[in-house]
């Protein structure tokens, strides 16, 4: 659309940032994932900046509107930075909480995977339909049932 300020260096910078970000995203540790998100996020922000025309500061009243940079991507990037900042803070809180609860911040295998592996190892099929076999002796049950919330007027709480 318009002459943009992008050059080879900027593209390489975007590529390196996003590439490193994606590599880190593939890790199991939440902190590394977080670093990946921050790097890739910054790469994306650069990409948006270079999407607009480069030039002098877009200040009203200064002569030469033709040489001004495009202010719209800059406004968008400000918003995107704020959003990334908020999400980073939240992910930090999550990984701290995860470390606090379990001693590490690794993302575990998902439940479905664990269940399928167990079932395959035990060569068994789903037992839910068999009304006389109850869950007590069921090795399939990886997730312990959630503790029941005490009702009001029942129990100590």
């Amino acid at each position: 659309m318009s002459a943009s300020g992008a050059n080879l260096v900027s593209f390489v910078a975007i590529g390196v940032l996003v590439g490193c970000g994606v590599t880190l995203l593939l890790e199991r540790s939440l902190i590394r994932v977080l670093l990946g998100i921050v790097m890739a996020g910054n790469g994306v922000n650069l990409l948006i900046i270079f999407g607009g025309r480069s030039g002098r500061a877009p200040v009203v009243g200064v002569p030469g509107t033709g040489a001004m940079s495009d202010a719209l991507p800059q406004a968008m990037v400000l918003t995107a930075i704020v959003i990334t900042f908020g999400f980073t803070a939240f992910l930090l809180a999550i990984s701290y909480r995860s470390w606090y609860l379990t001693g590490d911040d690794d993302v575990p295998d998902d439940l479905e995977d664990q269940q399928i592996v167990r079932r395959a190892a035990a060569k068994e099929v789903s037992t839910a339909d068999l009304s006389d076999e109850r869950a007590d002796s069921d090795s399939e049950q990886v997730d312990a049932p959630a503790p029941r919330r005490p009702h009001r007027g029942e129990g100590p709480e």
Binding site: M1, G51, A80, E112, A135
Partner: protein, 500 residues
């Protein structure tokens, strides 16, 4: 009149600010949130009537004219989605109040359930009303940020574990969306949807297709379309019942809405149609087969949720007016019914302390009302006449038959098969959890809170009521689909002078 368009975003946001100020005062918080959502529902209803009679309404936020400034646009599709979403969020809010789903106590510095819930609502309405791509992104981020907090509520180990997957996947989806936004701007120099509709036509074919596919991937993750859907059944079930309900009902549909909006307005024509039809078929089939294998009620419902997203993508992929009519009708039906099913599941959990099918049994005898509520919603989901699920599926299948060709016919067959398998899944749950002898899960003798039951009954009744008002509803969805297909009503409303 146009100022009304901003209210569905403003009201919940103001409510969120007010409930935050109220900190830990539980009762005033409840009053404020219920009042805000009820007012939003009223405004949405007015908007729907208005757009149905007089066409789209536009407001320029901040007074800047359209291609540069931020616009909020309420056309028939947006207004219809607003009405359904605010009705559902209101019901779920009442349900969560009945359950005591608030963390307000002497020890907490700030009770965050109500403010977060209102921000979530504001994000959803903002996404529906957004008139430019970046504002759509902001809407998504608002609802995501709120959903992160809600899905990890109380920070229990299980919720942290599943929440972290949810958070990372969704941030990644947002990043892909942001990259597409950046590329669209670099290629066209605008982000206003109406303006883009002109400018994208002038782009080279390959570039246009790659932009379309990038947006599809971003929205596909949010809508949980098959190859991108694995995160959903793993993260939704652990959240508190009302939170799961509102996520299942609304959040995926915001993704579907974004797909409808961009595919019709920005990229009209059947270019991605074959791709959409293939993933729609796979989504239906893989989702429902996943549901057949589950032994936990919440996980099972999450898989049916994924499966039925396929129906909506099927309608969009046909890229005919009839297909769009069916897809929009199905979105409306599915938002109400999926939320209702999760609320019923929440009631089951409240009553017995479990949602594990191996533990449950005899619920129809223990609590007949639960049986009725589940049976009606499950049959509605499976598409038994005369419920709205049947009408929605019939509309889609007829559109598929009318479109003709090998792929639509395969999809019609897959749609029928999925519907039958949904019926199988529903009757399996019914016979295990409701009909066999009571299981080891002990039913509580404490009666269920009236407000919880009332809200669930209201939502199930709304789902059944869709059948009663199916005629007018089809009028509205047809109007919305015709407007979407023509594109001109939307574009002329946003850019009155025609091509800028």
């Amino acid at each position: 009149m146009n100022a009304l368009v901003a209210l569905p975003v403003l009201l919940p946001l103001l409510g969120a600010a007010l409930t935050l100020l109220l900190a830990t005062r539980d009762r005033p918080q409840r009053v404020v949130s219920v009042a805000c959502l009820a007012a939003t529902l009223a405004v949405a209803a007015v908007l729907l009537v208005r757009t149905y009679r007089h066409g789209p309404l536009v407001i320029e936020i901040g007074g800047w004219p359209a291609p540069v400034g931020i616009v909020l646009v309420a056309d028939q599709l947006a207004a219809l989605m607003l009405v359904v979403s605010s009705a559902v969020t209101l019901c779920v809010l009442l349900y969560s109040i009945g359950q005591g789903q608030s963390d307000a106590s002497e020890n907490t510095p700030v009770a965050i359930f109500h403010p977060t819930y209102l921000v979530l609502t504001a994000g959803v309405t903002n996404a529906f009303l957004a008139g430019d791509l970046f504002n759509l992104f902001v809407g998504f981020e608002m609802l995501l940020a709120a959903s992160f907090v809600l899905i990890t509520l109380n920070g229990t180990p299980l919720r942290i574990r599943t929440g972290s997957t949810y958070v990372v996947v969704n941030i990644l989806a947002s990043m892909i969306f942001l990259i597409s936004v950046g590329l669209v701007y670099a290629a066209t120099g605008t982000l206003n949807l109406a303006h883009l509709a002109h400018r994208l036509d002038a782009l080279p074919d390959g570039l246009r297709l790659s932009l379309q596919l990038m947006l599809l991937v971003a929205f596909g993750i949010k809508a949980a379309v098959f190859p991108l859907s694995a995160w959903l059944p793993d993260s939704y079930p652990t959240a508190p019942a009302p939170v799961t309900a509102v996520f299942a009902g609304l959040l995926t549909k915001v993704g579907v809405y974004a797909i409808i909006r961009t595919q019709t307005l920005l990229f009209p024509g059947p270019r991605a149609a074959a791709l959409l039809l293939v993933v729609a078929g796979l989504t239906m089939l893989v989702g429902i087969l996943g549901a057949v294998a589950q032994s936990d009620l919440k996980r099972l419902l999450s898989f049916t949720l994924v499966s039925h997203i396929g129906y909506m993508i099927f309608g969009i992929g046909l890229s005919t007016v009839a297909g769009l009519v069916g897809a929009i009708f199905y979105v409306v039906h599915h938002i109400t019914i999926q939320t209702a099913l999760f609320l019923v599941t929440g009631l089951v959990e409240e009553k017995t302390g479990s949602t594990d099918l191996r533990q449950l049994g005899g619920l129809a005898r223990i609590k007949p009302l639960l049986g009725v509520l589940f049976f009606v919603s499950a049959m509605n989901l499976a598409g038994i006449p005369p419920f709205s699920g049947f009408l929605g599926k019939l509309g889609l299948l007829q559109a598929g038959v009318a479109a003709g060709g090998p792929l639509p016919w395969i999809l019609v067959a897959l749609g029928t098969l999925t519907s039958l398998l949904t019926l199988y899944v529903a009757s399996r749950v019914w016979s295990i959890a409701f009909w066999r002898a009571p299981g080891p899960a002990v039913a509580s003798t404490v009666p269920l809170p009236t407000l919880m039951v009332g809200a669930t009954v209201a939502l199930v009744a709304l789902g059944v009521g869709l059948t009663v008002v199916a005629g007018p509803l089809f009028d509205v969805t047809t109007g919305a689909a015709v407007d979407l297909h023509e594109r001109t009503p939307y574009i002329h409303a946003v850019l009155p002078g025609g091509r800028p």
